[in-house]
Point group: C2
Chain length 288, copies 2
């Protein structure tokens, strides 16, 4: 087995799915779950996502070869520093946060031994949360970004890359800033756009909501704590993306005001071509 | 059987699904399909959506009790006037357009006998189009808006209402303007929002597109001709909705600029509560 003991800090949708995948693929002898709630650790154990659970980070990480921090982005740096103070010198640490620059550079500034940490972001998830929603195949066929900075050491980079590959993911290596700029467009702005639509919907129109509205706003039901932390972490790239978005909305507004059918159609043709192209290049394996 | 002959003008996704549903539920003896392309009429016949097809409106509607116009919104008024010139005086006409004021008032101004027409809009559809995508259960459990104006006559209103109910839909009666204002928020603005996201996506970020982006932009792959006609028809209500939407985006922008985590979280909490509520009140039966 590639790992003897893997410690998962934060056993929710992502942490629980990592545990399930590790056990199902027989990649580890023992999965230790570290969480704040004994009840959710018991649920994780019943689901087979962890072998044992503890609410104490220091105890949970003591024997681990690999420590995966799956908490909300605003608590990841603290949990990494905390875990690194109690683990062996051979242990490797990674995280699963949806933002990378704040986490990776924050950790590089504060970690006792920088050579043990590499950042990750598996592009998998759901508007659902909690270990009850976890699935052994959550990472299978998905992309996982693994970060590389000038301070990243070879051994943890290789081990963390192999870890995600062993769960079925395709690993892309990116610098933290490049990750955050890209994700602002591909994930964080779409969440903002969906949330704004959900907020705007007048109560009295709910009866005439159609499938298109439901799809477009599905992620508007994402966890407010998780997502406000992500927005705060990645505010600057998101403001850039939002500025570009408002310009495209402005193009539609001008065309509508002018009742210019040709301009509206040109905008629709661009949308259609780009979205169809995305379907054809769906090597990311998504769409459940 | 409630109908002897139903004529469907425009045998695409919606028209084809009406034909399939009528036949499967044994509500009609004969379905006549009227289309511009002999090839797609042959396909509709092979799929069992129509019994016979013709490219001539006058011939197709001659024997019909009910005529359903399922063409793009910008050609519906002309097709209704054309059909009404060739049908019997007992025939009832309706349409399936996604906008209602332009169509209904346009028809009321030009129709030989106004007492024969009532507007409809089944809230069902897909980003797919064409008879190949049609399904017998497309309207089952969905809402269908049937319009009522001061000129609407009782008999066609009752027949068209019963028609949609017999396909499994829940009928809501609305004035055309009220329909268009509501649909601007629940369907047309979501399409604009999704199209703008699709247009904005930088080519180089395609590799890190996640499920959220795909869901949020699914309707960005809708047919450009159909949707530019809908936008043009409903420009004024859409501009109103877009103005409100841009104000909500502005609230997010201000909160992001100020790095105000509490404000961001309050916005997310509103989005979450409203979107969850929509799921719990999913009596519209959607979500395939």
């Amino acid at each position: 087995m590639p790992f003897d003991t893997v410690a998962i800090v934060g056993v929710g949708l992502i942490g629980g799915s990592i545990g399930l995948a590790l056990k199902e693929r027989r990649l580890v002898r023992t999965v230790v779950g570290i969480g704040r709630s004994a009840a959710s650790l018991r649920l994780a154990k019943r689901r087979g996502a962890i072998d044992r659970g503890t609410t104490q980070v220091a105890r949970g990480v003591a024997d681990a070869d690999l420590i995966v921090i799956c908490t909300p982005v605003d608590s990841i740096p603290d949990r990494i520093v905390e875990a690194s103070a109690s683990c062996t010198s051979q242990a490797i640490l990674t995280d699963t946060g949806s933002t990378k620059a704040q986490i990776v550079y924050g950790v590089e500034r504060h970690l006792r031994d920088r050579r043990t940490f590499v950042g990750s972001h598996p592009l998998a998830g759901s508007e659902k949360s909690g270990v009850a929603a976890s699935r052994a195949d959550l990472f299978d066929g998905r992309v996982c970004v693994v970060t590389e900075t000038e301070r990243t050491a070879r051994r943890p980079l290789a081990i963390v890359t192999q870890f995600w590959r062993s769960l079925g993911s395709r690993v892309l290596r990116m610098e933290p800033e490049a990750h955050d700029e890209a994700l602002a467009y591909t994930s964080h702005l779409p969440h903002l756009v969906a949330a704004a639509l959900s907020i705007l919907l007048p109560e009295e129109y709910k009866e005439v909501v159609a499938t298109g509205f439901r799809d477009t706003t599905r992620i508007a039901a994402s966890d407010p704590d998780l997502w406000s932390a992500i927005f705060l972490d990645n505010a600057e790239p998101m403001l850039q993306a939002l500025g570009g978005y408002e310009r495209v909305l402005g193009e539609f507004r001008q065309a509508l005001k002018a009742r210019d059918g040709q301009r509206i159609k040109r905008l629709w043709s661009r949308s259609y071509a780009k979205r169809r192209h995305l379907d054809r290049t769906g090597e990311n394996g998504e769409g459940d």
